[in-house]
């Protein structure tokens, strides 16, 4: 084993051990606290709910008593059924709610779930005393007397809390706890890896480079080590000593290794995306709050407009953004993008109507487009060619991890702080990302190229358009993948699952499988693809997997079919998307010499993202013509055929080159 490989393996082992140990401690401690809390919910929640229902029933009792006081005989009392039905409708956990008079006749409330036939054994909860709850059939049963104006008992109101509803409530709380634990684990992992890379990996890589140079006879002095902390200081002292011994001047610091730069980009991107996705879960609700007539658009269209504007701006900014990248460092471009997002977030917090919210979301969208672009460019600049797929997969993975974390945290923050304060928090975290980038991004930049004349530029873009492999990659892989992705994850799956009777939480979990698969599978698959150099195969097989997933709804026309389609899309795109990005410099090398890599990427990203909005529209048309299952399968077929055609394009162009 080479020294580099040995060092890399040792560092990886160390990181795995430290992170595993830390996560074990964190998660065990969290579980030790959470599991008993969750368990106690089964005893506490029905009592907690009962306390609320005692108030409800007492109010209903007062209504009946007041009517009697006004001189309405119980036998002639109208509207009791409506009174009880309204109360039940406002409390979905209430299975039955009936009024039984002193003769044991049910006077009202028989239109709910069938109450147990014999309610006489349910003990009375007297006014002012603790609720006396008993389990009866499928309910937690409660009974309160209705006291008349003269103090006599007029009858009893019986209320049954549906036990399955209580279980669902507890499940939701448990999922909330698990979500917070997972987010905590993700953030802890990111911080630990940053610390380890900065304090251990960086100095060790400096030592490794010196050892390799010494072994190869390329000089004897140890360069100053990058990184922070005691180990880095020790290596720097060693470097000074080595300089004295060998009489060779040493540079104060060596360049930052690509692994460390990748970590810096990853952390900056993670923090930024967490900030940006804090509002993801409540943006439609916030839009509804600010609903005001605009351009005669319908309410349904208006609610979705801030999201559409945001994504559209992030796509549209790609081309002008590519030119911007040639004029500033990665650090400055990231700061501009993140600052725009912060301004957009604060603008959203201050928005008083739909028009101002749209402007604020457009500014945030421009920020997002710039940050994405600069992070991809920085990764491609720092990461060696043979590890680019891994670099891009890191980008994809961290995006989904941060989206998951940001969305979950945003939901919690919005519940406690409100929508507007959460937007302000989002702006603050985006500024943190700025500060981190300023401290760690260094001075890397894209090569500056002389201005291209308009005519020359158009000719260059023309050549790019007829480059069969670049065009094939865009039109047969990126575009159909993106359109199917947007159509399935944001449109077809949620609506179809809803039609199949899935709850909102179930829909969220099934759709969330896509992001989680991408987050965890993309870096693992990419490392494997890099080692073998199988980028083209990875793109083709990934697209095929997405296509095959679309067909899963044919034999399984139920929730499982959707789950398989979503999971295979996550797996397929984990293979396909990072490799697409890695292939661009290779398949369009001659075009890159004229236009520069940033423009090639910008055209590619704009080409796949701008038409992505057609995904749901096409899906809507297909659903209207064929139904949900067939619409998903049709998209699957499109992906599969595109993958086969792409394989043919690459195979043909290789033969031509040969």
């Amino acid at each position: 084993m080479s020294l580099a490989a040995a060092t890399s393996a040792a560092v990886t082992r160390l990181k795995v051990r430290v992170v595993t140990l830390a996560l074990l401690v964190i998660l065990s401690a969290a579980a030790a606290v959470s599991v008993p809390v969750a368990g106690r919910q089964f005893q506490d929640l029905p009592v907690e709910l009962a306390a609320k229902h005692v108030t409800l029933v007492s109010q209903l009792g007062r209504d009946i008593s007041r009517a009697v006081e006004f001189g309405i005989p119980l036998a002639d009392m109208r509207g009791l059924d409506v009174l009880l039905a309204d109360a039940r409708a406002a409390h979905p956990e209430v299975g039955y709610l009936t009024f039984v008079d002193t003769q044991g006749r049910t006077r009202a409330g028989q239109d709910g779930a069938p109450a147990p036939t014999d309610l006489s054994g349910v003990p009375r909860t007297m006014p002012g005393s603790a609720p006396r709850l008993v389990e009866l059939d499928a309910f937690h049963a409660l009974r309160l007397p209705v006291i008349g104006p003269d103090g006599a008992v007029l009858g009893d109101i019986h209320l049954g809390i549906d036990r399955s509803h209580v279980v669902r409530l507890i499940q939701d709380r448990v999922f909330d706890i698990i979500t917070v634990m997972v987010v905590t684990a993700i953030i802890a992992t990111e911080l630990l890896l940053l610390l380890l890379d900065s304090m251990v990996t960086a100095p060790l890589l400096g030592l490794q480079r010196w050892a390799e140079d010494t072994r190869a006879g390329r000089g004897a002095a140890l360069a100053g080590a990058p990184g922070r902390g005691e180990l880095a200081a020790f290596v720097r002292q060693l470097a000074g000593l080595s300089g004295v011994v060998h009489g060779t001047p040493t540079s104060p610091t060596a360049g930052v290794p690509w692994l460390i730069m990748l970590r810096h980009v990853r952390v900056a991107l993670f923090v930024y995306v967490v900030a940006d996705t804090l509002s993801l879960s409540f943006l439609p609700l916030f839009s509804r709050e600010l609903m005001s007539p605009l351009w005669s658009l319908s309410e349904d269209v208006l609610v979705g407009l801030p999201i559409v504007v945001y994504w559209l701006m992030s796509a549209v900014v790609q081309l002008p953004g590519a030119r911007l990248l040639e004029h500033m460092t990665h650090r400055r471009a990231f700061v501009v993008g993140a600052l725009l997002s912060a301004v957009g977030a604060v603008g959203s917090a201050m928005a008083q109507d739909m028009a101002s919210l749209l402007v604020a979301r457009a500014v945030s969208g421009i920020g997002l487009g710039l940050v994405f672009m600069v992070c991809q460019a920085a990764i491609l600049t720092h990461v060696p060619t043979e590890r680019r797929t891994y670099g891009v997969a890191t980008f994809t993975g961290v995006f989904f991890l941060a989206t998951f974390s940001g969305t979950a945290l945003g939901g919690i923050a919005a519940e406690h702080l409100g929508f507007r304060a959460t937007f302000v928090l989002s702006g603050g975290i985006a500024l943190l990302a700025c500060a981190f980038a300023v401290l760690t991004f260094g001075t890397s930049r894209e090569p500056h190229r002389p201005a291209v004349q308009a005519a020359e530029g158009w000719a260059a873009y023309g050549k790019l358009a007829v480059n069969p492999r670049y065009a094939g990659l865009l039109l047969l892989a990126a575009l159909p993948n993106r359109m199917f992705n947007v159509a399935l994850v944001f449109f077809l799956a949620p609506l179809y699952l809803d039609m199949l009777g899935a709850s909102k939480a179930e829909i969220g979990r099934i759709v969330g499988v896509y992001g989680l698969t991408m987050a965890f599978a993309a870096p693992l698959i990419a490392a494997w693809v890099d080692r073998r150099g199988w980028q083209v195969r990875s793109v083709v097989i990934g697209s095929l997997l997405c296509g095959v997933g679309g067909f899963a709804v044919v034999p399984f026309d139920n929730q499982w079919g959707i789950l398989i389609a979503v999971a295979l899309m996550g797996l397929g795109q984990s293979m396909s998307i990072p490799s697409q990005m890695t292939l661009i410099p290779t398949v369009a090398a001659s075009n890159a010499r004229v236009l520069g890599l940033p423009r090639l990427y910008a055209v590619f990203r704009a080409g796949e993202r701008v038409p992505a909005f057609l995904g749901p529209i096409l899906a809507g048309v297909l659903v209207g013509l064929l139904g949900y299952g067939a619409a998903i399968a049709t998209y699957g077929a499109w992906l599969a055929v595109s993958a086969i055609l792409l394989a043919f394009v690459f195979s043909a162009s290789r033969s031509k080159c040969a």
Binding site: D63, R66, E69, F70, D76, R78, L80, V82
Partner: protein, 333 residues
């Protein structure tokens, strides 16, 4: 003007009056106060509002005593006195003073701003060109809930299959209300039985109320509806007692029928608050310098559902328990 601002100002007016220094110069305004059937809670509400707002007003009161000929004479007196503003109560009062749209300027007041109050439907009565701006030197306050909303409340209360209506066919508003009600009832599948205590000359007569109620009761309706009319209000006790005698649960558009009489329920505006709102419009014109044509004709935004439980007990017809949650109950015990 909006109603919310009015409510705020109504509350602030009292404070403002208390804080005003005694030496502050107060322009004095002259208002001709034209009554249709003597002093009412509406007129008092208007006067109280202006007093609390700190306006020094000199009133000249003219009572038409429900006589149209008297109104013509009042118009000539007002024209001669040239007050700053004319206030008119009820549809008859407003029509008699300001005249219908396009009325003869010699017979009606057109050059002095007119503020009316307690008019049911100024558009149907042809007092205004349009709503909310009248299009002439007139503005005012509507005191009634829309007929459709009243019908909805009445239906929730009585669920009628057949509804009797006693109205004053001599009044413009009464005729318009019955016409509107016919359309609404037909759409809801409710049969309407209509009668009016008017004589051969088309004039309403008190002694004809009993026979009209008898004819209506003979049709065995589920409830009786009394549209707004100035003619019935002074007769509230007698009229509603006669209805109860005949076993007719009554729903009225006017507050006094329920508070003073034994009408069982009604969706009404408080007459006093209607007057206060009219007072605010007077203030806008006199102190604010706004032309009457630019002050919108409006109703109060809230109506109260009044239920008279004494009548309900007498008739053994009870409101649904859900309605008791939001209704104002009179004679609960």
């Amino acid at each position: 003007m909006n109603r919310r601002r009015f409510l705020g100002l109504a509350a602030a007016a009292g404070l403002a009056a208390a804080a005003r220094p005694a030496w502050a110069a107060k322009p004095s305004y002259r208002i001709a106060l034209v009554q249709w059937r003597g002093d009412t809670a509406v007129d008092r509400g208007m006067r109280d509002y202006l007093a609390r707002a700190g306006l020094a007003v000199e009133y000249t009161v003219h009572n038409a005593a429900q006589d149209r000929a008297a109104l013509a004479a009042i118009v000539q007196q007002v024209k001669a006195a040239q007050p700053d503003l004319v206030y008119a109560f009820s549809t008859e009062g407003a029509l008699g003073v300001a005249g219908p749209v396009g009325g003869d300027p010699d017979r009606f007041i057109t050059d002095i701003p007119v503020v009316f109050a307690a008019v049911g439907d100024p558009l149907s009565a042809n007092i205004v060109h349009g709503m909310p701006l009248s299009g002439r030197n007139v503005t005012g306050v509507i005191h009634l809930a829309p007929i459709a909303v009243q019908f909805e409340a009445l239906s929730s209360l009585f669920a009628p299959k057949r509804l009797a209506v006693l109205y004053n066919a001599a009044e413009t508003y009464g005729r318009g209300a019955v016409e509107e009600l016919r359309g609404i009832a037909q759409a809801a599948g409710v049969e309407l039985v209509v009668d009016s205590p008017t004589d051969a000359d088309g004039k309403p007569q008190v002694e004809l109320i009993g026979p009209a109620l008898d004819r209506l009761a003979a049709a065995k309706p589920d409830a009786l509806y009394l549209p707004s009319t100035s003619f019935f209000i002074p007769l509230a006790e007698m009229l509603t007692a006669a209805a109860v005698e005949r076993g007719l649960p009554t729903f009225s558009a006017n507050e006094p029928m329920i508070r003073r009489g034994t009408a069982m329920a009604g969706l009404v505006s408080s007459f006093y608050e209607v007057g206060q709102f009219a007072g605010y419009k007077v203030e806008q014109i006199l102190a604010g310098g706004k032309p009457a044509a630019e002050v919108p004709v409006e109703a109060l935004s809230r109506f109260s559902l009044l239920i008279n439980m004494a009548a309900a007990r007498q008739l053994a017809v009870y409101p649904p328990i859900t309605m008791l949650r939001y209704a104002e109950v009179i004679n609960g015990r």
